[in-house]
């Protein structure tokens, strides 16, 4: 199977290497704040055609950065990315544009993601027109078709974003992405800013788009219940690494990694009326100075000596399931 997007050992750093002045200050025993953040630290993940891939983790774990890298908005510092089996390097300008258009982002904040000075007609119609996907005379029909696709009508064509509600704006944002016929939608906290009832509508819309158009969805959220509800597979991230990947069922019902177990235990459910919560101890460590060994060992209830020293390898425990934890190293199945 050719993967829609395949990312291998992606590393993404933010900030700058210390300049000469900073190094001098450091040599003179002034404390210098480190400036380099390793947002992604060797992340490998595949997006399969037509699947919904959920990505969960606390804020600051690098899930949004991963989304931006997958969407082609940021280039990784190390590692390789292939789109339908081909790297960007082997593509010419024209093909690169096609690849760029194939992955579109649906943003979190429906108030900031639409240009406040533009009408809905322009917002949705710009990209298809600029890239010559649609003739100018067919544009209105195309835009209307996109609006219909997301459950809006042509009455919206000449409205401004400020005239719409949050859910309607989010639909316009989705229509804008659909207008260039993407193969993957990267939804970065796309429902987090919406009311719960609107959330449910938008989630149904995403599911319908996947079923009708065969679009892959990468669904990034801190809200495990939302992700579980929609996803086929789930990747759990912690401090720039993927700690576990499995089907939604596997992750939710039998989490392997201690971090995933803690996340699932924290998620409120109707079925269990627990009174005490085994909340994950402590705060997320500073990404400027990540812990040695397994990044989770500072908060892990099952941590042992080795976790402080070695970074755990990612191992397959079952077919289609990987986990990065020293607890499972004996359980490796032969490849």
């Amino acid at each position: 199977m050719t993967m829609q997007i395949s990312a291998t050992a992606i590393v993404k750093r933010y900030g700058s290497q210390p300049g000469p002045l900073t190094r001098l200050a450091g040599r003179l025993n002034f404390t210098v704040e480190p400036k380099l953040v390793q947002a992604l630290n060797g992340v490998s993940i595949d997006v399969r055609p037509g699947e919904v891939l959920g990505i969960v983790g606390e804020s600051g774990c690098g899930k949004s950065t991963l989304g931006r890298v997958l969407a082609g908005l940021e280039s990784p510092d190390e590692g390789s990315l292939t789109y339908e089996g081909r790297t960007l390097a082997e593509l010419d300008r024209r093909e690169r544009k096609t690849v760029q258009l194939a992955s579109q982002v649906i943003f979190q904040d429906p108030w900031a993601s639409l240009n406040p000075r533009w009408r809905i007609r322009q917002i949705i119609g710009e990209a298809p027109l600029v890239h010559g996907l649609v003739e100018r005379r067919d544009l209105a029909r195309h835009v209307t078709a996109m609006l219909t696709q997301v459950g809006l009508t042509e009455d919206y064509l000449d409205r401004f974003p400020h005239e719409l509600s949050g859910g309607q704006r989010q639909r316009v944002g989705i229509a804008r992405a659909l207008a260039v016929s993407p193969r993957t939608l990267i939804c970065d906290e796309s429902v987090s800013a919406l009311d719960v009832s609107i959330q449910a509508q938008i989630l149904r819309l995403f599911r319908r788009l996947r079923n009708d158009l065969g679009i892959s969805l990468v669904f990034i959220s801190h809200d495990l219940s939302v992700v579980h509800n929609l996803s086929d597979r789930i990747a759990v991230m912690y401090l720039g690494r993927i700690v576990e990947i499995g089907t939604a069922q596997q992750i939710y019902e039998a989490p392997s990694h201690p971090y995933t177990q803690a996340l699932i235990a924290d998620a409120p459910r109707l079925s269990t009326q627990r009174r005490s919560f085994s909340v994950i101890r402590g705060e997320l460590p500073s990404p400027y100075a990540p812990p040695s060994g397994c990044a989770f060992h500072t908060r892990c209830p099952k941590a042992f000596e080795r976790c402080r020293l070695d970074v755990p390898a990612t191992i397959a425990t079952e077919p289609g399931r990987t986990v990065a934890c020293h607890l499972y190293e004996e359980a490796t199945i032969p490849a």
């Binding site: 240009n115 990209a127 819309l205």
Partner: protein
């Protein structure tokens, strides 16, 4: 689940009646000072435009001047029978006519300079903010360097090298002011650039120039209008200063600043009118522009609204 459709409950909000333009205008004029300034400024503009038709004399036509009429006080009659309402200058020019013609130059030259400065400054600011990195640093250091010079000094140097002339004055003034716009636009555009609608445009592979001028520019335009208006006022003063120093408009087409300069040597001789009347007019022009610019800022910035 209460509703099982994803297209549910999409009642279109009622189309809010588009606020008519005259309401914004009324809002603008609610401030009495601004209303008076707007009225005075309108009269001034109309006088400047109508100068060739309403001026008693063509001050550029040297043949119509008579040296015997020189230095007459306001209200004197000329040899040919007309009345010099505001008197004449040392060449026997009707001061009122010279002022009406000079007014046009004093308004138009700075206006053109501000427009040029706006185009250059906006382009530089947008490019700097959008591209970031080394180009941003380079352009902004250039802006800092430029802002480090007093505008008068910079314009003086340029005109001293190139010689006087209306076109050259326009360019000199534009050179003195573009950096203000560049810095303003760069700051505003930098914060716009982070917003998701710009990221979305990048994701949609919209070309950079389109993102800069079609997406970002319309969202930074309102502070530009305000600063543009205020800079116009500053530019009128600067042009007058340059003309006063003999470097702006040519002596055959005097602007207000040059008229003031021409009269200066006669003030002590009791011919106060040659300098005072153009001076009052220049002051009114700059005052009106500044008041209107300030009012514009109040109206465009919701934070100032009561």
């Amino acid at each position: 689940m209460i509703e099982q459709t994803d297209t549910a409950a999409l009642t279109l909000p009622p189309n809010p009646a588009r606020r008519p333009v005259y309401e914004d205008l009324l809002d603008f004029l609610r401030d009495p000072v601004a209303a008076v300034a707007a009225f005075v400024f309108l009269v001034i503009i109309m006088l400047a435009i109508a100068a060739p038709w309403i001026a008693p004399q063509n001050p550029y036509d040297l043949a119509s001047l008579n040296i015997l009429n020189s230095g007459l006080p306001p209200g004197s009659s000329s040899l040919t029978g007309g009345v010099y309402l505001l008197g004449t200058d040392s060449q026997g020019r009707d001061l009122l006519s010279a002022m009406l013609y000079g007014l046009g130059i004093s308004l138009a030259v700075p206006f053109a300079s501000v427009l040029i400065a706006l185009v250059v400054g906006v382009t530089v600011g947008l490019v700097a903010a959008y591209s970031g990195g080394r180009l941003d640093t380079l352009l902004m250091r250039l802006v800092d360097f430029q802002l480090g010079f007093p505008p008068v000094l910079l314009a003086l140097v340029i005109l001293a090298v190139s010689g006087p002339g209306l076109g050259k004055t326009t360019l000199a003034l534009a050179t003195a002011y573009w950096a203000v716009f560049a810095r303003l636009v760069r700051g505003a555009a930098q914060s716009e650039r982070q917003k998701e609608y710009v990221v979305a445009a990048r994701c949609l592979a919209i070309p950079a120039h389109r993102i800069m001028f079609r997406h970002i520019l319309p969202n930074v335009i309102s502070p530009l209008i305000v600063v543009g208006a205020l800079e116009w006022g500053a530019c009128v003063s600067l042009e007058a200063t340059l003309s006063f120093l003999g470097l702006g408009s040519p002596i055959t087409r005097p602007s207000l600043g040059m008229l003031i300069a021409n009269g200066l040597s006669y003030i002590m001789a009791g011919r106060y009118w040659v300098s005072i009347y153009p001076g009052i007019l220049l002051m009114s022009v700059v005052l009106c522009i500044n008041i209107l610019g300030d009012r514009l800022r109040e109206c465009l910035n919701p934070r100032f609204k009561a």
